[in-house]
């Protein structure tokens, strides 16, 4: 028991000196992704924060080949890079498309849908900082309800809910789909490694806080990410073949208010609006909850585990995963 500790792969592929803002979640996402995938990786980056973070010519922070490409083309370029590697007989190198929420939810959606439908064999990581941060914090379809951005000012904050990209991708019935958070690096790395071993299209949606865009102190980046998970705003899940849902971590269920209050982008919200957000989160959670049987908890409160109350559902989940693995093997063959 005792303290929670993380054992990450020791190799540091990402170099320091990159151009990310202090406390950047997207940068931690890249650091963990490269730790998980290793140096035999090609990264495709469309227009997004990471176009800048990687460094100006002639510098690059990634430590692996990076292909910078146009905003809408992350998925199509990655498909091409993968085809090119295959043509050279290189079936080992992992291709990683690494895009922000703008390049995924909005501008790159058709290329993404196409690659998913063709079941292209690469990993697509969307680091979601919930707006076009690089160009100056404009709203995207990933921006949550009620948030301030420069295009949804405090007097009329964003009125629409965040687009449910997970359900869109699940509808494509891709072999592997997961959500991850920078606050749970062990979980994220395990998921990316799992994705690496599966053939076909893999999509990982990472919650990546942005201190300047969300208006909070950079030292709170991890704390806020953790609160997003604990408040059920961003559930940590896995979906196999678009059908089998599994929960990676049972949230403690803290009030959404605690999470909202940490961030300046929500400062203008009144109690009624916060109530709406809480209601939405609860409703979405219930809807999601219905899709998976209560599952193995990678929970802080390990006492729950020891009671063994979820034993039957645990076994059920194991079998589900086994079936999924069989299916994945079949599609590979």
């Amino acid at each position: 028991m005792g303290q929670i500790k993380y054992q990450l792969p020791p190799d540091e592929v990402l170099a320091p000196g990159h151009f990310a803002c202090p406390g950047c979640g997207a940068t931690l996402t890249m650091r963990y992704a490269l730790k998980a995938l290793g140096r035999k990786t090609v990264v495709v980056i469309p227009a997004c924060c990471w176009s800048v973070i990687d460094g100006p010519v002639p510098y690059s922070a990634a430590g692996v080949p990076v292909f910078h490409t146009a905003f809408e083309t992350a998925a199509s370029t990655a498909s091409g890079v993968k085809a090119g590697l295959d043509a050279q007989g290189d079936h080992e190198t992992t291709v990683l498309a690494f895009a922000g929420d703008g390049g995924t939810f909005d501008i790159g959606l058709q290329a993404l849908s196409g690659a998913a439908e063709r079941n292209e064999d690469f990993i697509y990581i969307c680091y979601d900082n919930e707006a076009y941060m690089n160009t100056g914090i404009q709203r995207s379809s990933a921006t949550p309800f009620g948030a301030w951005t420069t295009t949804t000012p405090a007097v009329s904050p964003k009125a629409e809910k965040k687009k449910n990209i997970i359900e869109i991708l699940a509808a494509h019935r891709i072999p592997y789909l997961a959500t991850a958070s920078v606050a749970y690096p062990d979980d994220m790395i395990a998921k990316i490694r799992k994705a690496k071993d599966i053939r076909g299209f893999k999509f990982i949606h990472v919650f990546s806080p942005c201190p300047p865009g969300w208006k909070f102190e950079p030292e709170d980046s991890i704390k806020i990410s953790r609160m997003a998970i604990e408040s059920k705003v961003f559930p940590l899940i896995e979906i196999i073949d678009g059908i089998d849902y599994a929960l990676s971590k049972e949230p403690d269920g803290i009030p959404v208010r605690d999470y909202i209050k940490m961030q300046g982008r929500f400062r203008h919200l009144n109690d009624e609006q916060i109530g709406i957000i809480q209601a939405n989160v609860t409703e979405d959670w219930e809807r999601l909850r219905a899709k998976f049987a209560p599952t193995r908890k990678v929970s802080r409160s390990r006492r729950d585990e020891s009671t063994g109350e979820n034993k039957s559902s645990q076994t059920r989940n194991v079998t589900r995963t086994k079936n999924a693995r069989k299916r994945a093997q079949k599609s590979r063959g």
Binding site: G17, H18, P218
Partner: protein, 567 residues
């Protein structure tokens, strides 16, 4: 199909590409605050009167290095088996885990470490070279033992003069067996003697040993304790059947069973009163404690009061004795007066005020008066400065007479606990060392401790405090064998794992894990280095540190500059 394979950069088609690493870019210049590793004090260490380095020995316990853990405790306290049992453990009151899921059972771990080393007789060697000076210590209670022990660590020979037949003072004669078995005390005293400390029993200064005999010593430490029970000041207290708490407990601990009647009344609310009450209960008597204030004002350790209650000791609050009466010279009845609480007195507790005309009587076959103890200083040859009934000493434990030091219950600012006496002995030893012309290493404890909000509790899953094993109440109230048991190794390890280790880096890698700038690295020895060339000062490492062992300092501040020079 043609295969394109570029072997040189020149062969590649014209497009912008980067071959250099951003490592060349010194992004550290963006920083305006700087994270630094800075170990801080834990609240338990700051609170412990003896100054035990609790987080340090806990870490050794977790590594199952029990002997090393014992040695770590022995730096500050030669009697861990005793304090692990009887200390009122103020450390636990300040434990940062208290408000989370229960304070860590620190004193149970201390006891576990001591008991694990019960067969281990060799105390660590002295930390300083042998010296020619000799020191006399008067009294072999916790203060005297602690002082003599610390003096021997500093290289001095010391001789303890003990008036009683056996050493230990109040530890032996004032604390009943069910709390502190004699074999534990004997072991720890023998260990101290094995270091070269000489204990002369049956040597009462001013009685069979003349004060002048002390003149051949280079310094004297007076630690005679407070051994005289305060008088009740009510008529009839000299009747048969009226004991003082100290006499009663002393009788018991020397193996005699005092004659007590069926109905025992104990006067007082301190530890002596509770010890006497629980002891009388074990003799099969009906026991009632009479106290002039209420339960909250009782100076006894709360756990002891609870235990006494569980075992069946009755309590009568807000009463004070007026007169003891009896027949044939033997007490049989006590007249009491009711009290009420008035304005707070100098101790901060509300002063009890008599309620006129509220007198009533109670049957009393035996009365044990334990309303406080006073030192007996009649043996002192000159008029020392006193404050009230105690010797006046300053923070260095000097009495005003050069070379004569004092501490423990005989001197000022004691609060009648074992651990405070141990502290007095340790401090006095350091003062004597300095008085004899040596420079001591700094003993200064900074009182800044890690606050609860500086602990990142996310990293510590909820885990309740250990349930201390004990014999049943049914059994405990009939026997003088020890009530509480030592933790099992498994329990001790689980409990030690609960410790946040506030303020001391345990190299858990959390800082490194969450650095977006890849600016923290760990060398072979396990130490961390922050790459200030690239660290942008986001502060995640400081915020995420589970135990408050890091700090953010403004760039250019004195601390930051020092840190750079250190590197």
């Amino acid at each position: 199909m043609t295969k394109y394979k570029f072997t040189t950069v020149e062969e590649m088609p014209p497009l912008a590409f980067s071959l250099e690493s951003t490592r060349e870019i010194p992004t550290g210049s963006w920083r305006h605050v700087r994270p630094v590793y800075r170990d801080k004090n834990s609240p338990c260490h700051v609170t412990c009167p003896a100054g035990e380095k609790i987080p340090d020995y806990f870490e050794l316990v977790r590594q199952k290095k029990y002997k090393e853990a014992w040695y770590k405790i022995l730096e500050d306290n030669p009697l861990p088996g005793v304090t692990g049992r009887v200390c009122y453990h103020p450390c636990e009151g300040q434990c940062n885990r208290a408000g989370y899921d229960g304070a860590v059972a620190i004193h149970n771990i201390e006891r576990f470490v001591a008991d694990k080393n019960f067969k281990n007789r060799k105390l660590p060697a002295a930390v300083e070279a042998r010296k020619s000076e000799k020191v006399a210590v008067i009294g072999s209670g916790p203060a005297g033992l602690s002082c003599a022990y610390q003096l021997s660590r500093l290289g001095y020979r010391s001789v303890i003069y003990e008036a009683d037949h056996e050493p230990g003072g109040m530890l032996r004669y004032g604390i009943p067996d069910y709390r502190l078995p004699k074999k534990i005390l004997d072991k720890e005293i023998k260990d101290i003697e094995a270091l070269g400390v000489e204990i002369m029993v049956d040597s009462k200064i001013g009685d069979n040993v003349a004060w002048s005999e002390l003149e051949r010593y280079d310094a004297v430490f007076v630690a005679v304790g407070a051994t005289h029970s305060r008088k009740i000041g009510a008529p009839g207290e000299d009747l048969k059947g009226v004991y003082t708490g100290i006499d009663f407990l002393k009788e018991l601990s020397t193996g005699n069973v005092p004659k007590v009647g069926r109905q025992v009344l104990v006067l007082g609310g301190g530890n002596t009163a509770i010890d006497a009450a629980r002891s009388a209960l074990r003799l099969g008597k009906r026991v009632t404690v009479l106290y002039r204030r209420t339960r909250v004002e009782m100076p006894a350790v709360p756990e002891e009061i609870e235990e006494a209650e569980k075992e069946g000791v009755h309590f009568e609050f807000l009463v004070t004795p007026v007169k003891i009466s009896g027949s044939k010279g033997k007490a049989s009845e006590i007249e009491l007066m009711k009290m009420q609480l008035g304005e707070p007195d100098e101790s901060g507790r509300r002063r009890p005020v008599p309620v006129i005309g509220s007198n009533f009587s109670m049957r009393a076959d035996t009365i044990i008066s334990a309303i406080g103890e006073e030192p007996d200083l009649s043996f002192l040859p000159y008029s020392f400065l006193r404050k009230g009934i105690r010797l006046f000493v300053d923070d260095e434990h000097t009495t005003g007479v050069p070379g004569i030091f004092a501490g423990g219950d005989a001197a000022t600012n004691p609060n009648g606990t074992v651990v405070n006496a141990i502290r007095a002995g340790k401090e006095a030893a350091i003062s004597i060392h300095e008085f004899l012309g040596w420079r001591s290493r700094s003993n200064g404890v900074s009182h800044d401790a890690v606050k609860p909000e500086e602990v990142n509790t996310f990293y510590f899953p909820h885990e309740g405090r250990v349930e201390v094993p004990r014999i049943t109440v049914q059994k405990s109230k009939t026997t003088f064998s020890e009530v509480n048991k030592t933790l099992t190794e498994e329990q001790a390890l689980t409990e030690a794992e609960r410790c946040f280790t506030c303020g001391t880096c345990l190299h858990c890698d959390v800082c490194m894990t969450f650095c977006p700038d890849v600016a923290i690295s760990k060398d072979e020895s396990g130490e961390y280095t922050i790459d200030y060339e690239h660290c942008k000062g986001c502060g995640i490492c400081v915020n995420e540190c589970p135990r408050g062992a890091m700090e953010l300092v403004p760039e250019g501040a004195r601390e930051a500059v020092e840190e750079v020079e250190h590197i």
